[in-house]
Every structure is written in C-alpha cells, then in structure tokens.
Symmetry: C2
C-alpha cells in the first residue's frame, strides 16, 4: 500500500507532515509512504532520526499556498507538491494521497488530476461532525459543490454508507437526509426529489433528519447539499464556540465563580473536546478514481498520522473499488 | 387601532389569550381588542374581572387544531376563530391579527384569507433569533416557503429592514445574506443571484454573513430561503439545548460538582435565557395586505400581551403601508 503525503500542505507543514509520516511509517510496516515536497526542506527534518525504509521523499519544487486561487494554482503549478501527489494516485503509483493544504485546490486536484470515478458526476467532501455519543456523523457533501441535484444526493448516500461500513466498521450505517422535518413529504424541491431515490438504494435509510438532532447522533451518514451542510456545520461550531466563550467569561467574573469553575473544569473540558471537530480526523473526498484525504489546515503530526491510519484502513477494505462497483452497478443513476 | 386575537389558538388557549387580551386592553387604551372564539368558553374566563370597554368577544364556532392539515382546515372551517380573525383584517375591521395556533394554517390564512400585498409574490415568516448581545436578529424567511427565487430574497431584505426600523426603532438596520463565506462571489446559485439585487435596494446591506457569526450579532436582519433558515435555527436551538442538557448532567454527577454548579447557576441561567428563542416575542408574517403576528405555540398570557404590544407599535408606525409603498415603488422586482 503506497500513500502519498503532500508534505508542504497545512499551517504547520512541513514539520507536521514529516513527523506524521515518520510515526506512521514506524507503526505500520505494510505501507509505503511517499513524502512529496521540497527536498531541501524535508531532508534536514529527517536528519538525526533513523529514516524507516518504508518512507521516501519525492521532490516537488512548487507549493500551492493557502491563498492561491484553486483552479489557476492547480493548472499552473504542475510541479506543486499537492499536484504531484495527485498524479501519483492517478498513475497508480500510490493508492491514496493526504493533504492538509488549500481545500479548494485539493478538490480541484481531485477533479482535474486524480479524476472522477466512472459514473460519478460530483465528488463529495465528507468530514465527520462530532456528536455527543462520540460516534460522530459523516456528512456529505460539505463544501465541494454548493448546488446539488437529487441524483447527486443519492450518490452521496451510497458513498457515505460504504465509507462508514468499510472504514469505520459500522454495520448497516444509518443514512439520514438533512431536512426541515422528519415526515417524508417535508422539504424543498431538492430533498423531496432525493428522498425516493435514496429509498431505493441498498443502504439503511432512516429518512429525514432535522438539524437539531444531528448532535445527539440521529444518524451515521448525513446527506445534504454543500450549501445546507455548510450552514449546519458552521451553526454547530459557532453556537458551541460562543457558549463556551461566554461560560469562560462568566466563570472568571468573581473569585467565587473562579473557584466553582475550577471544580467543574474536567467536565467542561470533556464536553469541549467532544464537540471539537478538529479532533475527528481527515475528511475523504469521495467519488474520485483514487482516495484523497483532506487533513485539517491546522493538522499537527498526530493528525497527519491519523489521516494515514484512515487511508490505510480504506485501502485495506477496498473502499474505492467497492464504491465503483455499486456505482457501475447502476443502482443509483442512469 | 383594532387588533383581533385568535382566542382559541395555542397550547394554553383560551386561558392564555384571555389573560393576554385583558392585560393589553388595560395597559393601552388607544387599542380595541377583538377576542375571536367560542363565546361559551370565553365568557366564563372573563367573569369576575371587570371587562375593559376596549375589549369585546366575537363568536366563532369552529377551531383549527394543531394537527389539522393547514390548507384543508382553512378552506373548510370557514367559521374557525383563526379564519374569522383573518377575515376581520381583510375587511378592514381590524388592522392586525394575532394567533398562537397551527403555524401552517396561519400562513394559509395569511395567503388565502388576509391576502398578499400587491407586488409581493411570497410573504415571509420572520421570527427573531436570539443573539448574545441581546439585540436579536430578525430572520426571514423562516418556514413560509421552502424554495425561493433571488427576487424573493430581495423582497425579504426590504421587508425585514423596514420592520426592524419601524417596529424596533433601529436606525439603518444591518441587512445580511446568509451564506457560506463573506466574499461577494461565495454561495450557491440562489445567493449569488440575490446578492446584486439586494445591493441595489435602499437598505444597509452588510453583505454575506456566515452561520457561525449569527449568534454574536453580525446583522439585524438575516435574509435566507426557508430551507436554509430552518437548518440554521434548528442547529442553534439543538446545539444550545444539547450543551445545556449535558452540562446539567455533568454538574449533578457528584456532590462536589453539585455545590460548584449551585454557585454558577445565576450565570448559567442568564445565558440560557438569552438563548431562549421563546422569549423573543411573536413572529410577523410580512408581505400580506394586513399585519399577522404568529405567537409561539406555548405562549402564555404575557407572551400574548407582548404580541399585542408588537402589533400596536407596527400599526402606529404604519408598517404595512411603508412596505407597500417601497414595493409598489418597484424598487425591488420587475
């Protein structure tokens, strides 16, 4: 199993990517890691440690920056670490690639360099949203495409279900459709048309799910268009963040409050950690001809290692092949 | 000023509506309240108190129940309290109506009985979403129409801005468009097309607003389609509710926690109250030929009285006429 890592992508790269790659290569000897990036920067970071034999550097001279315009950057910077990693996947030199770099550029790399899977019109970005039962929910699409057609939502349902089963080992993952009410006929034109399509799929469809029930774990896979998904995720993040910051303010208002809050800190920290979406690993881009995992921009070495873990399980469980088989089986669209 | 109250609508009706009507009639002698409902039930509730001269009962034999199918109920139950109240507004016998009954039926009553304002294609439901700075944000549309066209969003922007100015006395209310990013070109097809339309309106447009910034008060009027608005509101509600219920659990886990939590209770209650959308009054249905205010289903007498206060200010400030003037001025569509 060969996994390419965009060594230059992410706020803390290349330190984070080198650390993560080293740790992963040491832990799993059934994988081979290709660190793609500027040799001049990467080699010094590897010095002093014994480089595992299953880790190698592939030089790439250019870097896509966080503020680069995605499509233009991917088209022009043909020797950027992200683009080179994508090319390794397209050419079969690697089964998966990981990047914590520019999200838009990574989605463009997925589409233009790695390429769509046969039969998939719109690949989807599928991060985990934290839930209080700590199972989390895989939500897709979350940002790859703002507008969606009913057939796209159906493909998201199928891909998400296969991912949860293969990568997270969940038996018959519960697939929900993000909607304004739980009754079948609720919703806008998009969700009303998508509902019967998802119903016909070989997935465990639990019907419509309301935004207020996501956090308590109403489903394992949440299907939505990129716009609604963004509103959902940012509301959750924003509300939790705002509440915690107000509590912090309130709890330090007086000596009495400070003392009381100190006693409750373990509980508060536990909850805050549960609701921290950064803890929940990389987000796969599903529907491409190979696996692409997007790490959070602020990924540290540990997060990169976790993304490798995720990619490894996905490759072992033949995720991409399973999705291709279902899609080509024409069960979803014509 | 005559204000009709659907005396039979709401979980606690008719007790709540009679109490609210009495309190309002006593407080404001420049209004006349028409309590529309079953005389046999209403009269006993008024007994023992001195009925103010500016309060009278109008008998209506039927009631629209919470689980009635909205359109059918409004069409068939021509003598339902809600429908009769709507007819008073249409016929100019009242300037406003208030109901805490079946939301779908009230929107149908607005459309079919009261009637749309000339030039308005889609009336909008505009509740207040609580914010931590306690100004709140008027969000529309929140549930009257699931799908919207760019022109509808522009009309929402105009109506919401006039409402905030007239009823809440906010000078140049900040109008924001709910979106996935703050840059002008962000969004789905709907928001991208709506942006330039809102830009041309005589409102203080602050551009796109992200879901995570709503709670901290990024704008005074939030424009969105009914689907996205529902996702937003229910995420806020769900997240806040979930966090509070987990804190409650955690804080009663041990004696130590209980004691500490007791000291922090005032702070916690204050925050919870700030974020309780039920505290924030009735929601106007904007874009009708007269004013319709939807009270929360669980409204008590105090909430009904507050809805009357809101309707009174709206009538005094000539809200409906101001909206009509702007819309007919053709500044929005054509």
């Amino acid at each position: 199993m060969r996994i390419a890592i965009d060594a230059m992508g992410g706020d803390h790269a290349p330190k984070s990517t080198v650390e993560g790659a080293l740790a992963a290569a040491k832990e799993w000897n059934d994988i081979e890691i290709i660190l793609v990036g500027d040799q001049g920067q990467l080699e010094p970071l590897l010095k002093g440690t014994e480089t595992p034999t299953n880790l190698r550097i592939l030089h790439a001279a250019e870097v896509i920056e966080a503020d680069d315009e995605p499509v233009r950057a991917v088209r022009r910077k043909k020797d950027a670490s992200m683009v080179v990693a994508g090319r390794l996947v397209r050419e079969g030199e690697a089964e998966a690639m990981i990047s914590a770099g520019n999200t838009g550029a990574l989605m463009t790399t997925g589409l233009l360099v790695v390429g769509r899977m046969n039969g998939i019109e719109r690949p989807a970005l599928a991060p985990m949203i934290p839930t209080v039962d700590e199972r989390g929910v895989l939500a897709l699409d979350l940002g790859a495409n703002m507008d969606a057609k009913p057939e796209h939502l159906a493909q998201y349902a199928l891909m998400g279900s296969i991912y949860r089963e293969k990568v997270h080992g969940i038996h018959k993952p519960r697939v929900g459709l993000l909607n304004v009410g739980t009754e079948e006929m609720k919703g806008n034109e998009l969700t009303k048309a998508a509902y019967p399509l998802i119903e016909q799929l070989p997935v465990h469809f639990v019907g419509n799910v309301e935004a207020r029930d996501i956090l308590t774990g109403a489903c394992d896979v949440l299907v939505c268009d990129g716009f609604a998904g963004n509103i959902l995720l940012k509301s959750l993040e924003g509300t939790a963040g705002t509440i915690f910051s107000i509590l912090k303010q309130e709890f330090s208002k007086s000596l009495k409050n400070k003392l009381a809050a100190a006693l409750l800190m373990p509980s508060l920290h536990g909850l805050k950690k549960t609701l921290d979406y950064k803890e929940h690993g990389g987000a796969p881009l599903l529907g491409l001809s190979g696996l692409v995992v997007k790490g959070h921009g602020s990924s540290d070495g540990e997060a990169i290692k976790n993304a490798v873990r995720q990619a490894r399980v996905a490759i072992q469980s033949r995720l991409t092949e399973s999705i291709a088989q279902e899609i080509i089986g024409k069960r979803v669209v014509e």
